[in-house]
Symmetry: C2
Subunit: 575 residues, 2 copies
């Protein structure tokens, strides 16, 4: 923060009281760690907003330092609470305001705005901290018998209101006790863990496999979502998550090889054979069910060799978005092996990144001019490789060849390092900026190459129609058939409802454009009204049939998840 030479806002750096709202909504948990934008970035944002420093003179939003307190009665009968206590032990059932609120919201901006405004809703009656698969199975059997709504809280990084306890009842907080390794199988490169295992802990265990398990090598899962620090294995699996290195390692769907669920219809446990032609793939039937079929308890994941020494980093600048897309398609279709991180920024994001990383103050600026690259047209690509040394080298070589073919300018490794440095910590910026009413949030969808430019333009048009909106887009998670478009938008807004409407207008635009409603964030309750409209009525009826099979009483994550009990009038059919 000491890098500021001019005006520096008073970033909130105070103590965060233990039982405060901020301790819940803050990225990074109840620690004091914060991240503030660099002066360059702040000035750039102001310039784009057409605003001056004055917006940063005073906090515009409640800092959320008050103690969590609300008056929502517990309607779950005592006898049920006692029964649950018998299953897990008295000390692992809580009903105080803080515990109830701490599992109510995820991390989408709408959640955080409500938390700042002390709008508390959709809290569970009790929070339960299960310690074993058997306990969870017993709880599911009990709530099934008594028709009590059941929710699950994993890492808390949902950006779709996935965890919200709309119908009250019980929330299982998996973080505390349900986070162990069940089995490590080096020969098959498979690890089985409890669903509450956190992303960072699992990665630490795999990278340390030699000392933890006496393994012959170090391993990695290769799954690094931006929400890494707040993510859990169970959350990844039930929402179809993807990490930033997914172009090489695959999305979570590609990593799962075995799951166990406790459902109202009993335990479902899939086998761990690498492939099978034994009817519809049950792993795929269960993944993406977002807690509506049952509670995910155990997950078996494929892991890979940890070989940081083979990583190649590169970045290139392309003349414009169209050329960048053509390059991306060539790389993904060339069959030279896939890069790991693969990120192509559109002109607006490129411009912001160049300012943020100080590139526009470097000699590279002159090179852009020489090449006739314009700041409002050029597109930045950055990527990493993974894999065995020769493989990794060949991928990087092929990327370089394609970049040259499409007239790109090779950038320094500087840009990659800048991005890598912030890859998990950028979300911290949200809290710091939001204190002054500046919101950052994200949306994403998946598109084929042939509709990439069209979808980008259509969604951007809707976002930019709001005055003073920064809309950064990048393509990441890429395939031979297309990729994910990811939007980061920055606006000035202090009203939660107004924000929700803006958010909905973007979802409308995504559906209208014909893209998928989500590539890896899932659907949750926030996107639920759009799902049937995207999939089609007969297609959606398949998901409903599965729901009716597993959970005929609608007690598993009820209240809008996947749109399963969303009133017809609220559903969006815009295609």
């Amino acid at each position: 923060m000491s890098t500021y030479k001019g005006f520096e806002p008073k970033w909130f750096q105070g103590e965060i009281p233990e039982n405060s709202y901020r301790s819940v909504f803050k990225w990074g948990g109840a620690t004091r760690e914060i991240k503030a934008p660099k002066e360059r970035m702040l000035q750039d944002v102001l310039r784009r907003f057409g605003m001056d420093e004055s917006i940063f003179h005073e906090y515009q939003q409640d800092l959320g330092l008050d103690e969590v307190k609300f008056d929502i009665p517990i309607t779950l009968e005592d006898r049920h609470i006692e029964a649950i206590k018998k299953i897990v032990g008295d000390e692992f059932v809580r009903s105080d305001d803080y515990a109830r609120f701490s599992v109510a919201y995820g991390k989408t901006m709408y959640d955080i705005m409500r938390a700042r405004e002390k709008i508390v809703e959709n809290v569970p009656d009790i929070v339960v901290y299960p310690g074993s698969r058997k306990q969870i199975e017993a709880i599911v059997a009990y709530v099934s018998e008594h028709k009590i709504p059941l929710y699950v809280y994993g890492g808390g990084s949902s950006v779709t209101r996935g965890v919200e306890c709309v119908k009250g009842g019980i929330s299982l907080d998996m973080r505390l006790r349900f986070n162990r390794v069940v089995k490590f199988n080096e020969a098959d490169q498979l690890i089985t863990v409890e669903a509450g295992m956190s992303g960072p802990k699992l990665e630490e265990i795999l990278q340390g496999a030699q000392s933890v398990f006496g393994a012959r090598r170090a391993y990695t899962l290769g799954h690094f979502p931006q929400s890494f620090e707040h993510s859990s294995v169970g959350g990844w699996v039930v929402t179809h998550g993807s990490g930033q290195n997914s172009t090489y390692y695959g999305c979570i769907q590609d990593m799962v090889l075995g799951q166990a669920y406790a459902t109202p219809r009993g335990v479902i446990e899939t086998d761990q054979h690498p492939r099978k032609a034994t009817g519809p793939d049950l792993d795929q039937v269960m993944m993406g069910s977002e807690g509506t079929f049952g509670v995910l308890t155990h997950v078996t994941l494929k892991f890979s060799r940890h070989m940081p020494e083979t990583v190649k980093r590169f970045s290139y600048m392309f003349k414009d978005w169209k050329t960048g897309i053509a390059f991306a398609r060539e790389v993904m279709q060339s069959e030279a092996g896939k890069p790991s991180v693969f990120r192509l920024s559109d002109p607006e994001e490129t411009s912001i990144m160049l300012n943020m990383y100080g590139v526009m103050d470097s000699p590279l600026k002159h090179l852009f001019k020489l090449k006739s690259f314009k700041e409002d047209e050029m597109c930045l690509f950055l990527g990493f490789t993974n894999g065995e040394a020769g493989f990794s080298k060949n991928v990087a070589k092929n990327v370089a060849k394609a970049a040259q073919r499409f007239g790109a300018l090779s950038m320094t490794g500087y840009v990659c390092k800048g991005w890598e440095h912030g890859r998990f910590s950028d979300p911290y910026l949200r809290d710091t900026l939001q204190d002054f009413g500046v919101l950052m949030d994200t949306m994403e969808c998946c598109v084929n190459w042939s509709s990439m430019a069209k979808v980008h333009a259509a969604v951007r048009e809707v976002v930019k129609a709001r005055p003073g909106t920064i809309c950064m887009t990048h393509m990441s998670h890429v395939y031979p058939q297309g990729g994910n478009l990811y939007w980061i938008f920055i606006i000035v807004e202090n009203d939660a409802e107004a924000f929700r409407k803006f958010h909905a207008s973007i979802l409308d635009a995504i559906q209208r454009s014909g893209a998928s409603m989500s590539h890896h964030h899932g659907i949750g309750k926030m996107f639920g009204p759009w799902l049937e409209g995207q999939l089609g009525r007969n297609e959606y009826a398949v998901i409903r049939a599965l729901k009716d099979h597993f959970d005929p009483d609608n007690i598993m994550n009820p209240g809008g998840t996947l749109g399963l009990d969303t009133p017809e009038a609220e559903k969006r059919f815009l295609k």
Copy 2:
């Protein structure tokens, strides 16, 4: 055939009458093309059986040259037949014996034995040759209304009794008219075809894309099952098929990106976004349903660049099975890129291949001795690569490195060429040998590395318990977590029922060993009784719930497919 120096059996080479049983069951369709074993192979087989030439003095089985004739009344009411004729046109509905029989059986040995014995059962009342998706949708709507059983016949290569019309009714023969390209999308590398499209025709179209569609390049699907000549796209998809190059190109599950089905509950059509987090993956829910949910009409497939010039071929000999497995695991886990064909033979198969390809008469024989490799222990590996030149080269280099590490002897490209030459034509041998009562059939299952040796031994023990049985095993379709074990067994047997019992005992052994019941042949009606036992009761109930949703009247491929209407008493629970 003129290569024989000693005794040569009189391989059947006569005219095959147009309406004969043989014209139906013969591999390669109603052509005269045959394939006879080389003298070396024949002598080797006899030696292993402990038999002499006399078995080949006379035909032991009916040659199947009689006209197909049977007396199974048509029970479908005339009004229904008229209604169907109205949908497709009079000339595209047939009810003669030949047409009915021609879609009744697939290509498993039990089918062929019944055909030779003129055991005709499970024929449809009428055969319909649909010409469009709309016609199929109209037929499905009609049979749903009137509860008429509906079957589908694609390429006819089923080895699981998948196509058999156990409940009579209607069989849709897709070959004649429902085999066109619907859409070719070069930018997204996607092609949409009608489900009756044959494997070889699709590959021809893709490789000829430049002249067929004016494309910029030639492409390939990379899907080459041994049944290639008899296979259809629809069959691949509904049974979860795999081709011999699947280790690089993936199984059909990895290639499908969009399907349309006509089901009793209406049309199901999935989107073509490369990835999505929009609830359970509907493509995966529908694939593997083997016609029990509805009729697959359109399939959209990802294709790849056709680059035959980059292919590398290699083969190595390993000391023993255990060493070969360890090598295979190393190659698949090393992340240097995956080979395309990947085939490791066990000692018995190795020994037969060496004799078949004449290796034991070559100087290589002495090298084996030098290395102390024993003929009843050593294991042959052969592989190909695909992909961009540098990628392909790196894969081959890495395979060579691993082979060296595991003490392998590099063999000449001779072995690969021999295998490649016979890769689609080996099934022709079955007919030629079977005329003399010598049966060849196959089984397969999928296993993890850690249980590979155990499953191999357990299944082999059961097969070899039958006196005079040749049991060749190879590992193919390989993954970082394990692979497919594929058994080819050769026995002398002339009774269909006796054969069926032997076949069932192998399925029992597979289930007992804990492997998957199938890696890529599917389940059909023949393996149906084992499916619930493998998946587990709750898990199997998920497939049944989907069945009840799509087809509550059980008219889609009824009579044992996936075990969905198999009587409880016939089911096998051996795990």
